[in-house]
């Protein structure tokens, strides 16, 4: 079983994942890129929150302007070693100006949560034994950072300049 962490707390997952060949239920849903491309018109005219789940080889740039119709982009980690989603999240935030939820799903480690947070993830699908305490600790292990990213955190260079 998994749980959802959002805004530093466990959250109810409002979205229902929909298989590629299943009928579209009412309410908030998450579809694959293939499903979106197949049923684009129908999906974009719905009045309920729409989410998309991208596999690690699928760049969000494929979505083009459609990206702004989504309330959620779930980025998949097929293996924790596959770091492509770090770039996808960063691009969603800083190139595509995506302001919706970016959710980490799949196989990732506690030790990656802080990096994910920095590049723009704001929701995590975690195993049951992943506590909020662990989550908060993951984000607080390193106080300051050397490089700007999507989290807008002040860099060490900026802190030096402002000292």
């Amino acid at each position: 079983m998994t749980k959802l962490i959002k805004s530093g707390a466990y959250a109810q997952d409002a979205y229902a994942p929909v298989d590629d060949d299943a009928a579209l239920p009412d309410g908030a849903i998450i579809v694959s890129l293939a499903r979106f491309q197949k049923d684009r018109e129908a999906l974009l005219t719905r009045n309920t929150p729409l989410g998309i789940r991208l596999q690690s080889h699928e760049t969000p740039e494929t979505l083009g302007e459609d990206v702004h119709h989504f309330a959620l982009v779930a980025l998949e980690f097929p293996k924790f070693r596959d770091g492509r989603a770090f770039s996808w999240a960063r691009m969603l935030r800083t190139r595509l100006d995506f302001t919706g939820e970016i959710r980490a799903v799949g196989d990732f480690l506690y030790d990656q949560v802080n990096y994910q947070h920095r590049v723009g993830f704001d929701a995590w699908e975690v195993p049951d034994n992943f506590t909020i305490e662990m989550f908060n600790r993951a984000l607080s292990e390193m106080s300051s950072v050397y490089q700007p990213s999507a989290d807008g955190k002040k860099t060490i260079r900026e802190l030096r300049a402002g000292r």
């Binding site: 070693r81 990096y115 390193m142």
Partner: protein
């Protein structure tokens, strides 16, 4: 002897806190591994990101020596660690780092804390991330330099430290920088490399290369930008890394480096994609390197105040003169010199130094080299700022240390990876081959007659011993359970970079040194006056060397 503080980067409170927190974080990861909370599979990428390998017999810890620059205080700490946690020695590597071959996992947090106390760490010395940045080991001292590359290297070090987007790359990523036209940093063999250049308007900036590398598919790096302005360099690097992180192959570890991507896309397409990212990152502006920051970091590396000295070389006998001839290089200031300490005394393990030797070298650094030493990618140490009149005293001390071989750049100044003696990737031993060849050519007169000849030995195709870049390269292979050694000729890691050509089938452990000798004989017979081995090879080609090398077997 009082400790001298050299002109090099010093941590401020932010750097110190960063390393302290990183040490605490990694110590926690070690604890989770020891308690079984993390599986070895999960722990592996975490420990690798902090320089910890699992070798054949034990863990190996690789400590970062950023751009090869060490203070005497740091050198003494390296000696202390060797003594306290290891078997009394350390191994200087081809990436200007030092590695310890026998630390216990439980001791690693304590070692990292000791390192942090002298502003050192093991961050990103391995793993699929941006590795420790390397630089010309003569930086700030060389006569041919446009600008000291170390301020840029330090800026890159900081930017790349725990970069959230690039810690799970397809494969490792190595960056080198040089500020001189004579390439002593092997730029052509790096994933990305920067050469400091002046453009037509006289402006200093950066020429950037990508896609070089060794391993089983060697490539020479190609120019991706002729000129990147100074304040844009991090934006440009981030653009390169982003293209690589998105598109580098992840299905095959041997095809995952940026060299493969660069050659699959072609340099034109690679450039187009990088430019696109670059323009966007640049426009957003967050990654600009402001002039104040550049100035602040550059100030740490300010040239020392050199005394006004006359420029003559002291006379201290023929042995000393021989050592000066090969191991002393021209310094930018009159009366000063750059002295190379080769860790290659024939019969020794290339790159190894004992704790006592390290301590004595630290004393030499304080007394004679403004507290500073450099680690070179040729596994030697370099005293960068030495008064010529002090050279005889230095030489005398090195003799006591058994580090006084007058062989820098000569045939016994051999690069070798740890090989099958330590490494679980290796197919064959490298160290005993290096020792045999060095013994065979031990006679200094003979070495000098042969002249510049770089032998580089790797114990497997991963090429940690840089065999592709050796004038003579040796590659250890496993042939039905027996160690075999292939010869390569004509490689170079300098500004005339080239990839060595494989001669053909290999030689046995007992034959390889003789084969090298026969190759050298061909050179001696065929060379024109003042022609280096490499140039003779380039002029006459493989055939005569190959005929000679295999002659004995054919007979």
């Amino acid at each position: 002897m009082s400790e001298v503080t050299p002109n090099m980067y010093r941590y401020d409170e932010f750097d110190a806190e960063f390393v302290a927190e990183r040490t605490a974080q990694f110590s926690e990861q070690v604890k989770r591994r020891l308690s079984g909370d993390l599986t070895e599979d999960q722990f592996k990428p975490l420990r690798l990101m902090n320089g910890l390998y699992l070798q054949l017999h034990a863990y190996m810890l690789r400590v970062a020596v950023p751009y090869g620059t060490l203070s005497s205080r740091q050198m003494r700490m390296l000696a202390h660690i060797a003594r306290k946690y290891d078997r009394g020695y350390g191994h200087f590597t081809t990436r200007q780092n030092i590695q310890y071959n026998w630390p216990k996992l439980v001791d690693v947090p304590a070692i990292l804390a000791d390192l942090a106390s002298v502003e050192m760490h093991a961050i990103q010395t391995s793993g699929n991330c941006i590795r420790n940045v390397t630089a010309d080991h003569f930086a700030g001292a060389a006569a041919d330099e446009i600008e000291d590359p170390r301020p840029l290297a330090e800026i890159v070090r900081q930017w790349s430290s725990l970069h959230p987007e690039f810690v799970f790359l397809p494969r490792k990523f190595k960056i080198a920088v040089s500020g001189a036209p004579n390439d002593r940093a092997a730029l052509a063999y790096h994933d990305m490399a920067v050469e400091i250049v002046k453009n037509a308007e006289g402006l200093t900036g950066y020429k950037v290369f990508v896609g070089g590398g060794m391993g089983r598919t060697p490539y020479i790096a190609q120019v991706i930008s002729d000129f990147v302005e100074k304040h844009d360099i991090l934006a440009f690097m981030e653009a390169v890394l982003r293209v690589y992180n998105q598109q580098g192959r992840r299905d095959n570890i041997y095809k995952a480096r940026i060299k493969i991507l660069t050659n699959a896309l072609g340099i034109e397409e690679m450039r187009r994609q990088v430019e696109r990212e670059f323009v966007e990152i640049k426009t957003r502006g967050a990654l600009q390197v402001p002039q104040e920051e550049l100035d602040r970091i550059t100030a740490y590396f300010a040239a020392p105040t050199f005394e006004a000295l006359t420029d003559e070389m002291p006379d201290a006998g023929p042995d000393f003169a021989n050592w000066v001839k090969s191991n002393v290089s021209q310094h930018r200031a009159p009366g000063y010199a750059i002295a190379t300490i080769t860790l290659k005394t024939p019969g020794q393990v290339p790159g190894d130094a004992s704790a006592d030797q390290m301590d004595t070298i630290a004393d030499l650094m304080d007394r004679f080299s403004l507290g500073e030493v450099r680690v070179s990618h040729e596994q030697n140490l370099v005293l960068p700022h030495v008064r010529k009149r002090d050279l005889p005293a230095i030489y005398a001390k090195l003799k006591e240390l058994d580090f006084a071989s007058a062989n820098a750049g000569l045939i016994t100044d051999i690069i070798a990876c740890p090989g099958l003696d330590y490494c679980d990737l290796a197919n064959a031993r490298s160290i005993p081959i290096a020792q045999r060849i060095a013994k065979k050519f031990e006679d200094l007169e003979r070495q000098q007659a042969i002249g510049e000849l770089k032998i580089k030995i790797s114990g497997c195709i991963n090429a940690c011993g840089h065999h592709h870049a050796g004038h003579i390269g040796i590659l250890g292979v496993d042939k039905k359970g027996v160690e075999f050694y292939q010869l390569l000729l004509g490689g170079s890691g300098a500004q005339d970079a080239s990839i060595g050509e494989i001669m053909g089938p290999g030689f046995g452990e007992d034959e390889i040194a003789d084969a090298v000798e026969r190759v050298v004989e061909v050179y001696l017979a065929q060379r024109k006056p003042d022609e280096r081995f490499l140039d003779t090879y380039r002029r006459i080609g493989m055939a005569p060397f190959k005929d000679a090398a295999f002659q004995k077997e054919a007979a």
